[in-house]
């Protein structure tokens, strides 16, 4: 492609009658040249790459929209949108829970858009909330959900029990997430079925907790 472009540039650059007369054959050459095997291969490679990129982007978009959907739909799970994008299984379970919940809080779901706009997600505040390295991580993760929920909560007014249930669940999910995070950080991984297994490159103590037991 590059060579063809250079040729064309040279021809138009000459600007004489002679050049114009010769333009047609040159274009033909270029056309033929670009039909060459290497060009074709390169082009197909490029196309493939673009396609895969598009695919990847689509996937991510879908995931992120899912995530944002779940966030906006359910603030209790929306603590860390990035942390759940690559786990379709959990995602499915989560969505199931979400659906179950949303059917119970119908009126809340209706307010989704307005809530969405009230996320305060400034990176700087996010940064500053992360504790310096010498503070135990529990503390800092306790603050990671700094994307504050600014909803005034009119829709919940008068619904005390629901509110309580809601916050209980929220803390529960958060706690579980934190636990999961702790296990991943200490070297546990998950297989396709959501079961935990030990990363072979990581060392463990003999009496370390097994997430399969702890989290079941």
């Amino acid at each position: 492609m590059g060579a063809g472009g250079a040729c064309a540039g040279a021809v138009t650059g000459a600007g004489s009658m002679f050049a114009i007369r010769n333009l047609m054959p040159v274009l033909a050459y270029v056309y033929m040249h670009n039909k060459g095997a290497r060009h074709v291969a390169a082009e197909s490679r490029l196309r493939e790459k673009e396609l895969s990129k598009k695919h990847e982007i689509n996937k991510r978009l879908a995931l992120s929209s899912d995530a944002s959907h779940s966030n906006s739909g359910n603030p209790r799970t929306g603590v860390k949108p990035t942390s759940i994008k690559e786990k379709p299984l959990i995602e499915e379970t989560r969505r199931a829970i979400l659906e179950a919940q949303s059917s119970r809080f119908n009126d809340f779901k209706g307010k989704k858009v307005s809530h969405d706009s009230k996320w305060t997600t400034t990176t700087s505040s996010f940064d500053s909330s992360v504790a310096p390295s010498d503070v135990p991580m529990e503390l800092s993760t306790g603050n990671t959900g700094l994307r504050e929920w600014n909803c005034k909560g009119e829709s919940f007014a008068g619904n005390q029990t629901q509110d309580k249930l809601f916050s209980d669940r929220q803390t529960e999910v958060r706690k579980r997430q934190e636990q999961e995070l702790r296990f991943t950080a200490s070297g546990w991984k998950r297989d396709g079925h959501g079961r935990w297994y030990r990363d072979e490159n990581v060392e463990f103590d003999s009496d370390e907790d097994d997430p399969n037991v702890c989290l079941s």
Partner: protein, 1225 residues
Amino acid sequence: MYLYSLTLQRATGAVCAVIGSFSGRDSKKSAFTQEIAVARGSTLDLLRPDPETGRLRTLLSVDVFGAIRSLAQFRLTGANKDYLVVGSDSGRLVILEYSPDRNRLDKVHQETFGKSGCRRIVPGQLLAVDPKGRALCIAALEKQKLVYVLNRDAAARLTISSPLEAHKSNTLTFALAALDCGFDNPVFAAIELEYAESDRDPTGQAANQAQKLLTFYELDLGLNHVSRKVSEPIDNGANLLVTVPGGGDGPSGVLVCCDNFVLYRNQGHPEIRAVIPRRADLPAERGVLIVAAATHKQKSMFFFLLQTEYGDIFKVDLDHSGDTVSELRIKYFDTIPVTSAVCVLRSGFLFAASEFGNHALYQFRDIGRDADVESSSATLMETEEGFQPVFFQPRALKNLMRIDEIESLMPVMDMRVANLFDEETPQLFTACGRGPRSTLRILRPGLAISEMARSMLPAEPIAVWTVKKNINDMFDAYIVVSFTNVTLVLSIGETIEEVSDSQFLDTTHSLAVTLLGEDSLMQVHPNGIRHIREDGRVNEWRTPGKKTITKVGSNRLQVVIALSGGELIYFEMDMTGQLMEVEKQDMSGDVACLAIAPVPEGRQRSRFLAVGSYDNTIRILSLDPDDCLQPLSVQSVSSAPESLLFLEVQASIGGEDGADYPANLFLNAGLQNGVLFRTNVDMVTGQLSDTRSRFLGLRPPKLFPCIVSHRQAMLCLSSRPWLGYIHQGHFLLTPLSCDTVESAASFSSDQCSEGVVAVAGDALRIFTIERLGETFNETAIPLRYTPRKFVILPKKKYIAVIESDKGAFSAEEREAAKKECLEASGAAENGNANNGDPMENGDGQEDGAEVGNTFPDEQYGYPKAESERWVSCIRILDPRSRDTTCLLELQENEAAVSICTVNFHDKEHGTLLAVGTAKGLQFWPRRTLAGGFIHVYKFVDEGRALELLHKTQVEEVPLALCQFQGRLLAGVGSVLRLYDLGKRKLLRKCENKLFPRTIVSIHTYRDRIYVGDMQESFHYCKYRRDENQLYIFADDSVPRWLTAAQHIDFDTMAGADKFGNIYFARLPQDISDEIEEDPTGGKIKWEQGKLNGAPNKVEEIVQFHVGDVVTCLQKASLIPGGGECLIYGTVMGSVGALLAFTSREDVDFFSHLEMHLRQEHPPLCGRDHMAYRSAYFPVKDVIDGDLCEQYPSLPADMQRKIADELDRTPGEILKKLEDIRNKII
């Protein structure tokens, strides 16, 4: 970011030193005025020993902005003054002349010969001058040698010829010396090695057979030509040449110092060889090399002092008749720490510029005439195994006696700034020195004081004065101490004791006590003035009515008192010695303080009275009879003045200790808000100008006059005492390192000519102020081995140090060997059970004091072990009591290399200490090791002791450790690894192997990890918890050999490389934002990479060449409430700071000032300032404060010229310079 670089402590180590009579002026009076020129990296110092006090005094210290590589001195025939030749990295030969009148070095000649820099073919490393001062040779390590002919013109000025070349390609030069051949043609000798053949021969056979040559170059003065006269093979261990006196004083020729031998060589003379005696305990594989040499020549005799690499000094004598040498004798002389240069002074002193640690001045007690171990060329025995060695045992000093010591921090291995003592300013903790001379030094900004006496008083005094009985007396007669209701008079004699016959009123407290006129005393108390005449008569003036005196101001002839209510009464002494009331004046309100300027010389009275009022003003009133007590000028100040003092600076035209400056009168005021306010008083009109203020402390400064180096100085007593004094022409205001003082006065007696008497609490203290002109005073705590790193344990304020040495024995082995030695020698066991006590610090000095047969290791060095052996220890030190609370000696050839405290989350132990070690580490022929370990210790006994929790083996040297999110990050070779604490070992949780060479530093901030690579600068990393992954998102595109690193802010790191540069690397803001906003943290991009590295590159935003290897960087503030600056310590033992500018105006001002100084005041050694600061990378956004601070030393007209260019006055520039320095320290 713009930075201001300022050296706080100039380099303290020494590269080379020469002795000469540079001032030359006393040559007629006494022939013994000699100075020592010491090169300390980029500073050149001129020292002079004071034969009376036995102390070395720094006459001059100049920053030359270049690396001084060699020094030599010479004298033209018939002249009485030496010149100094400097070989540096400037590509120029510089000849300097010291001018004692102006106390400065002047450039006499500056000859450019080629490229600049410290390269192997740039001449400057080797320098030799013909002893008759007719020619000098400057050589490079390879190929180049240039000979200059020195002469003088009709006006007796030094002239220098164009250079004559004596180059030889493919030749390395090891040493160079000029032969003393009287007035024959000058001859230079060099140890050379030709490598052309070795280079061409791939089998290496030629390299094995390479032969060193001793080559003689002759300068034919008639033909003006240099010829390579003789080249003879010489011992391949030859490393140093020493000129032997000739031309009638001796046989001429050179001493060639080789491995284990000293040879005498001359053209056409057979080689005379003698073996250097060996220490009895030296392993057979180790040779003995001479590292420093000095020649002492008197009319009838000469001898040489040669020092070995172990510190032993040998005296070398030659037996000769005419030009024939018959015998060479080497006799053990004494042992002192290893030096980089030794200078013998004609006045009987020896200056030893130590390689590491403090320098010393010794006095000769003898010149080694007693019998001692001696080897001689006559008794040299050659056997089948080689020459028969001669053994000796080092002994205590016999011929030398140490009389003074100059502190040296060289090398600063690690540094921390912290306020562990809860003082007003933080302390600098530096790990210094090497081997047995290692120390932990605590540096405090301020001058050191040495207390001469301290005595308790019955109550808490409020003020103290000293008075002489007669103005012509040398010493003070009385110390008068005032309490709240009584006055105590002490007389100064042999002892200081209370007296009652002084006629001072002792039943009331005093406001002032002073000498009045020639010989009468005055005491001012609340109810009056008591004037005590010389003959014992007492005149008493009483206050009118019920008024009391509140404030007093006086000088030798004038007294002003302020009465309650604000009335001023002015008295003058008349011709008869009577104190007469002259004038009265009512002030509007109460007077806060008073001061009268000193009486100018040849005048009857001073014209100025300063009155401080509570309405925040200071008024200058006239004391002239015409307009007595009329206001001359008014100055408003920020707070009510508490104390006033006029300081008169007498005119100076240079001299030993100063530059030119006119007479000046300064008014100093201590304000109630703790600020010292200083202003210039016009000596004619009394107008105030050029005001400066400085915050001194929380208490209002009280000002007292005193005398420092025969000049008027000022003590300012705030929450700590400060001294304002003039040093080398500059007014300096420096804190004193002592507790709060209530009141003070100058003190002069038989024992202490210039001291200070002070009251603090209920104690009376007499002290002297030492080492004027220095920024820091230090306290040293000896260590056992070379300190590598240390950490401060924040809770207990203890310090954990790791120390290690190669080729030494451990303390136990040394102890065992000592015992064996004692038993073998039949000495009675003296039963010192605590000899092997591991709790002592340096373990040498104490032992030396207890056991007569062993000597301090600090002086004698450790016994040498096999070179591959390591000894190492971990020490917990309490800096307050200076005690070692725990000392763990590492076993099995392990050496500690890194240390950090770590607090594992979820684990029960609390803070732990992690120490990285390497076992069996070898550097040659290539780096190998048996294994690396990370030890984890827990603190027991309230943090005073350590207990090993476990030890984890790693495959490489763990050079960096750091806590991160409740875990331990370790740089193990080129792998960054995250460890968690396990029951039996550390558990590897995550790692990244993508670092290029070796990780040497780790810093963390939030979730970012900043990793420093040994050769490849910084790498910025992130840890993702949800994926348990460490990844690099940015790195530096410049390969940097990192020696020190410090985290500055979220995106910025400061680093120093081994070529002496400091730089700041910053991640561009947009990239930083992108990474923080990207939910993957830039992971997708990271997978792509750029330029074989991380996808993002940091920018180097600051570049500065310090000219010295920076070993530690620390962000800290040295003044209370001041902004943070970056403090660095270097191998040469200097401490500097980089301060960020806060305003654009300042940047413009200082960059212009720097530009003008570069033009108008080029550096002394000929290196271009800009080129020096840009030696490796063009200097960027750093202004050299050291150059700017040379502004006050310029001639006045030059100062004015530069000030005009900057649209300011010289005073404003000086004020700016002072201000910015005060922001740092």
